[in-house]
């Protein structure tokens, strides 16, 4: 029989505990809004006063520190982000999905466990180390292999980003493939399909939403990556003409320039505006991925 005092304490503290838990549960919503709020708040004043949005999105001239006339055109930066992300996705989506198919459908148990651990470790490598690898290791290799004058460019950044995005595409893709019920596989095998036909004709169509979500999440990761592209892409404000051109991304610009801005100055605020833009892009990508995944769940329950 419980001691009367502890029993009363338990009765009193239970709602307190439950409310703490509830508040912690809602904290995620709070933080997402808080991030958007604080980032936007720091950038907002310039949006309504000094910043010409048309110039912002269409001008190539990014000269925030000019003594003559500060220019805040991010077109070249957008091109930089887009080009590096596009190359990274072109490399990592086929590789990641291919690896996901291989690991979940084709290889034997021991190989699968080893590969999964290896990929998990690949995912754990910090982005600054990737940047270091791009800057110190891949740089001379690319110069030797392509004959380009410099080795830090879109190709370098794209390869590094691809290696960084593959684990997430692979793991989400694998989940998507696992989510296809075994009955699909069994039915196909009963009809005489071999493993590849099961994958190609049955699993891929069934899991296509999940695989698309995997690709989208990979894109989200690539767009938001900072340190690796800061060190590996050459940091040059220009619209690239070829894969071997150095570019600058939105994220690298913020990382490189935020320190030098004076708090509350125009340059400072414009950087926060760029941050808000990045936040918006990642929000859109994540929401789409979530909606696409929810789509299949709805369909399967029907």
């Amino acid at each position: 029989m419980r001691h009367p005092i502890t029993h009363r304490l338990a009765l009193l503290s239970e709602p307190l505990v439950e409310w703490t838990i509830r508040i912690c549960g809602w904290s995620a919503i709070f933080f997402v809004f808080a991030i958007f709020f604080f980032v936007f708040r720091e950038g907002a004043p310039v949006l309504f006063r000094d910043l010409d949005l048309k110039e912002f999105f269409t001008s190539l001239n990014w000269r925030p520190d000019s003594r003559i006339q500060a220019q805040y055109g991010v077109l070249a930066l957008l091109a930089g982000t887009a080009s590096v992300t596009a190359l990274a996705m072109a490399l990592s989506v086929p590789a990641g999905l291919g690896a996901a198919i291989f690991v979940s459908e084709f290889c034997g148990r021991p190989t699968r466990e080893t590969l999964k651990i290896v990929i998990e470790l690949l995912a754990a490598i910090p982005s600054v180390v990737w940047g270091f690898v791009g800057y110190m290791v891949l740089n001379p290799i690319l110069i030797w292999a392509t004959g380009a004058p410099i080795g830090i460019n879109i190709l370098n950044g794209g390869i590094i980003l691809a290696l960084m995005s593959v684990p997430i595409i692979m793991s989400v893709g694998e989940d998507a493939l696992k989510a296809v019920p075994d009955t699909y596989r069994e039915a196909a095998i009963a009809l005489g399909a071999n493993r590849w036909q099961v994958v190609y004709k049955v699993l891929l169509p069934a899991a296509k939403n999940g695989l698309l979500a995997a690709a989208l999440l990979g894109i989200g990761r690539a767009v938001g990556e900072t340190m690796a592209v800061l060190m590996a892409t050459g940091h040059s404000v220009q619209i690239p003409q070829s894969l071997l051109d150095p570019v600058r991304t939105l994220t690298a610009t913020i990382a490189a320039e935020l320190g030098e801005t004076v708090e509350g100055g125009a340059h400072y605020r414009v950087l926060f505006v760029i941050g808000s833009l990045l936040m918006l892009i990642s929000l859109v990508v994540n929401l789409s991925a979530d909606l696409i995944v929810k789509g299949i769940r709805g369909k399967q329950n029907a």
Partner: protein, 301 residues
């Protein structure tokens, strides 16, 4: 329940130990001076120098801890204006509007001390036959609308460079080196051409040039490494040009010589003053020479 409570108490104690120890009495970062922590932030050109000072000062004054951060002269000046640091290291002067803003925000006009001299060298790859360049040509290479984009246009047959294209290496715009270079070479009416490869540190510029036969870049003369050579600089085209050395920086014959500054909030007092005096003194200036810069010429005050 009991192990859980024990864990919480242990974590709390541990945090307490961490919080209470540390380099002396704590204070909020916004007040800065007083106590035994001096914060120097700013110029990447000077960051090695600052750090050398910090190491050596620790031997002279073990009770004082000097914190160094880089980020570029702009970062240091911004921090000074925001009032979050004690000393800003800068490789360029503070602009009048920056001084005004700092005075308004912190209530005291920033005071600058010249703690050394640097000759800003222009580097090319060691296989590049170019030996000298004039400020005018440099403006045409780096400036917006400048017409020199190929090595042949600069009057040089750069055999090591297959595409004959001049690859400009520059600094990111938080760098005092960048601002100084822009002003010295292009003046206040002209922008830098976009599309240069903007490195984050003085060292990267030289490292990149050493690997890229087509490249040209600028950085402090202390950053020279094998694989690059420095160009002689002349003011006008056709002149012989002067190499960047300690002497030419001191006597002013090298056009891109610049002072290195430490800015403080108002007149320095207490530990900050002691540090600045030490830096300007014999020990501090010896460190300047060790790092590769030029000590301040001695003159009677």
């Amino acid at each position: 329940m009991k192990p859980f409570v024990a864990l919480v108490i242990a974590a709390g104690l541990f945090s307490g130990v961490i919080g209470c120890s540390g380099a002396g009495p704590n204070e909020s970062a916004s007040t800065g001076t007083s106590g035994v922590v001096i914060r120097i932030t700013g110029s990447d050109t000077m960051v090695n120098l600052d750090q050398a000072w910090a190491e050596n000062y620790k031997k002279a004054r073990p009770d004082v801890s000097v914190q160094i951060a880089g980020g570029g002269s702009g970062v240091g000046i911004a921090g000074l204006i925001d009032g979050i640091l004690d000393i800003a290291a800068s490789s360029r002067d503070m602009a009048p509007d920056e001084i005004e803003r700092a005075t308004k925000r912190t209530g005291a006009e920033p005071k600058g001390f010249t703690v050394g001299l640097d000759a800003l060298a222009v580097y090319v790859h060691q296989d590049n036959p170019l030996e000298a360049v004039s400020m005018e040509d440099l403006a045409e290479i780096y400036g917006d609308g400048g017409h020199i984009v190929r090595w042949s246009q600069a009057g040089v047959k750069n055999a090591a460079c297959a595409s004959d294209e001049i690859i400009r290496v520059s600094r990111q715009n938080n760098s005092g080196t960048y601002v100084y270079f822009r002003e010295a070479v292009l003046g206040t009416r002209r922008e830098l051409k976009l599309g240069s490869i903007d490195q984050s540190g003085s060292k990267d510029v030289v490292a990149l040039v050493s690997r890229t036969p087509c490249a040209i870049g600028y950085s402090g003369m202390a950053y020279a490494i094998p694989g690059v050579k420095t160009l002689r600089m002349s003011k006008k085209k056709g002149e012989a040009g002067v190499a960047p050395t300690a002497e030419s920086a001191l006597d002013g014959s090298y056009p891109l010589a610049r002072p290195l500054y430490l800015y403080t909030r108002g007149n320095p007092t207490g530990p900050v003053k002691e540090f600045i005096d030490w830096a300007l003194g014999e020990d501090g200036q010896r460190v300047v020479r060790d790092i590769g810069y030029v000590p301040v010429p001695k003159r009677s005050e």
